[in-house]
């Protein structure tokens, strides 16, 4: 709140996004790629040595350059036009966006259905100090709103204000009049000079910039945050090293050796033949393999989780940084997963379902990319401060590592051995007062935690084989996301009892669930908090 120059206010009138937006879009990356590609292939193309480019040889080089420039200019013009046609505003109940060149489309994200607000900074935007905001609301795919781009400070201010409004803290009474003249100026508050000064300052502290902890001035302060855990780079790299694809890469030379020794294959010739076929194919294959490592590294880099009045805050990303805020009670299900290779370290990967985030597992649905056991417990606590169990650590311990019915788990009967020989002993279900725990896995371990009040519906299913063995599955339907909890191979009686009990518990849970406006719950409505609007 101490910035010089005019302060940013979230616009109540239709407002454009920042004018640099068209230049920061993804196509800029495409342009860079194109430039690189031309740089790589221009020699062979000019010489006419490579007939891949024979098509282009029919045109004079100058013509191609002109065509490329025209194409570039056209793309630019369209982007700028799109930007001209895109406007947004916020109201007390919703965020509005209208866009589209040919058909105007208007969309509103109702704040009472708000699920999460993210501040996203792709690489280019990050270098220049801009950010996009995505507002996720419940109501299927594509119901969210994406505003790109705003100045980083403005984006944070907007995020904080949206969260304050959604929480039920009403904005100051003077808001509407002051907004009448906000207009386009609001989108570029501070002016270029101030922005550049701020950039220079930020670049002077590259470490903060790299880890996405850049300090920005915002007109609306964020709710105070307490850090709960962060992931050291060493552990992240270790977790990536201890993964299936790494093992696959490591076994390749051995496979070659075996082929050479036992089958007399000419490995060198084979590899050369593969390499010789097509460089592009090799690059694609490598990219596919490395893509896995890259998404894990990029998504988990600098991962930090914190808690604030506005809910869960997650921050992560190497090239593209993302700062997520998930208000209290929006997490519909948690999955803790331990691949076999992580067992010796007792590491867990934790993913969550948040309505609106959809299936995008890698970038948004991760609660912890690689948690120690202690951190895993803390991560569950973050989402469910009250597990509804007198001994939450003991119970979660049994859930993560237990076998059989110790800790009060309902297990699969012995007849399940026929269909599930490896892990029938490890399956278990237990309900606490607040959540359902579903556990499975012998070599790899998996635990689902579903808060009762977040259960959508329940299913009981049985096919002919399970029927013959007296088994049934109970599915807990959660919102769309990577977590799909299912309690498999229970004895029919147990399954039916679980279904009935769970329906009753979900009913009970819905009665006392957090209201959508989480601040109103604690009687803070209308109170001026640190998140309140500064005129």
């Amino acid at each position: 709140m101490t910035a010089e120059g005019p302060l940013y206010r979230a616009p109540r009138e239709w407002t454009h996004l920042h004018p640099v937006s068209p230049f920061l879009g993804g196509w800029a990356i495409l342009g860079l790629l194109l430039a690189y590609w031309i740089h790589q292939f221009l020699p062979s193309w000019v010489d006419g040595g490579d007939d891949t480019f024979a098509f282009f040889d029919r045109f004079p080089l100058i013509g191609l350059i002109v065509a490329a420039t025209l194409g570039f200019a056209l793309t630019m013009a369209v982007s700028v036009w799109q930007w001209r046609r895109t406007q947004f505003r916020i109201g007390d109940d919703a965020v509005y966006l209208r866009q589209g060149i040919v058909t105007q489309q208007q969309r509103q994200a109702r704040l009472d259905r708000l699920q999460a607000v993210d501040v996203v900074q792709p690489l280019l935007a990050r270098i220049f100090g801009f950010a996009a905001i995505t507002v996720q609301v419940a109501g299927g795919q594509k119901s969210g709103i994406e505003l790109k781009f705003l100045r980083l400070g403005d984006a944070e201010a907007l995020r904080n204000e949206i969260l304050a409004l959604a929480a039920g803290v009403k904005a100051g009474g003077d808001a509407p009049e002051a907004d009448a003249m906000a207009g386009d100026a609001a989108a570029s508050s501070g002016g270029i000079r101030a922005h550049l000064a701020e950039r220079a300052e930020a670049l002077a502290n590259p470490e903060a910039l790299l880890t996405g902890r850049e300090n920005v001035r915002t007109a609306v302060a964020a709710a105070e945050e307490r850090e709960v855990y962060s992931v050291p780079l060493g552990r992240l790299l270790g977790s990536i090293a201890l993964s299936g694809p790494t093992i696959f890469l490591l076994t390749l030379p051995f496979a070659g050796l075996i082929g050479f020794v036992f089958f007399q294959l000419d490995v060198v010739a084979a590899v050369a033949a593969i390499l010789g076929t097509s460089l592009i194919a090799i690059v694609t294959a490598l990219a596919g393999l490395l893509g896995y490592f890259w998404t894990r590294l990029n998504g988990g880099f600098g991962f930090t989780a914190g808690i604030s009045v506005d809910g869960l805050r997650l921050r992560h990303g190497l090239t593209e940084t993302r700062r997520q805020t998930v208000p209290p009670g929006r997490v519909a299900a948690i999955r803790l997963y331990q691949p076999f290779l992580w067992r010796s370290r007792d590491w867990w990967r934790i993913t969550i379902n948040v309505a609106g985030y959809g299936e995008d597992q890698e970038s948004v649905s991760v609660l912890h990319p690689v948690a120690t056991r202690e951190e895993a417990l803390r991560a569950v606590w973050l989402v469910l401060p009250d597990l509804g169990d007198p001994d939450p650590h003991g119970t979660l311990g049994y859930a993560l590592h237990g076998t059989g019915d110790e800790g009060g788990f309902t297990t699969s009967p012995e007849s399940a051995r026929r269909v599930d020989p490896l892990q029938w002993r490890f399956r278990g279900v237990r309900a606490t007062d607040r959540a359902l725990l579903i556990r499975r896995g012998r070599w790899e371990r998996e635990l689902f935690v579903v808060p009762h009040e977040r259960t959508q519906s329940l299913g009981l299913t049985q096919g002919p084989v399970r029927r013959a063995l007296g088994l049934a599955n109970v599915e807990v339907h959660s919102t769309q996301g990577p977590v799909r909890p299912i309690a498999a191979h229970l004895a029919v009686d147990d399954a039916v009892a679980l279904l009935d009990a769970q329906a009753a518990r979900a009913r009970e849970g819905r009665r006392r669930q957090t209201p959508e406006q989480w601040m109103s719950a604690v009687g803070l409505s209308g109170a001026p908090t640190e998140g309140d609007v500064h005129g």
Binding site: A355, Q456, Q462, E475, H477, T479, R507
Partner: protein, 160 residues
């Protein structure tokens, strides 16, 4: 037969007309295959092509038997707080949908359904996994059911 008894509410079986609604398209499809097989066998004078006809007829008979069993197992129950949908014989399932979790209700009826006077009522929650569609509800009952569900849903609406 019944493996899950709703404690609170009686099961409403779906209309037997659903059997007709499902057998007719099956018979048409397989009937055409059978006809094709017969014609081909006669024209080409290849008697073994009649196997296609026989196969299609056997498939039609078996399919009809499955449909009859499925339809007789399909039922719904309106509990105090939840709607229960039961379906399937071989692969059976029971879905429990709390009224407060319903996002919207669809009532659909194709041309054949309309002729027979039945409709499909489908409940949607915020979960893609919820498979709560009731096929073969008598048309007037479907409209009433939809209204009842909506009213109850509004009364108990619980966000997500």
């Amino acid at each position: 037969m019944s493996w899950y008894e709703s404690a609170a509410a009686p099961w409403n079986p779906v209309s037997r007309k659903l059997i007709t609604a499902r057998i007719v398209p099956l018979s048409i499809t397989l009937g055409l295959v059978a006809l094709g097989g017969t014609v081909a066998a006669l024209l080409a004078d290849e008697p073994w092509l009649l196997a296609v006809t026989v196969g299609a007829l056997v498939l039609a008979a078996w399919g009809s038997w499955v449909i009859v069993r499925q339809v007789s197992a399909h039922a719904w129950a309106e509990g105090e707080e939840d709607l229960l949908v039961r379906k399937g014989r071989m692969f059976r399932s029971v879905t429990v949908v709390p009224y407060g979790r319903m996002q919207f209700v669809d009532v659909k009826a194709g041309p054949l359904d309309r002729y027979l006077g039945i409709a499909t009522v489908q409940l949607h929650t915020a979960s893609p996994g919820t498979d709560a569609s009731i096929a073969g509800v008598p048309a007037e009952e479907a409209a009433r059911l939809r209204d009842r569900l909506t009213t109850r849903g509004e009364a108990r609406l619980a966000g997500l």
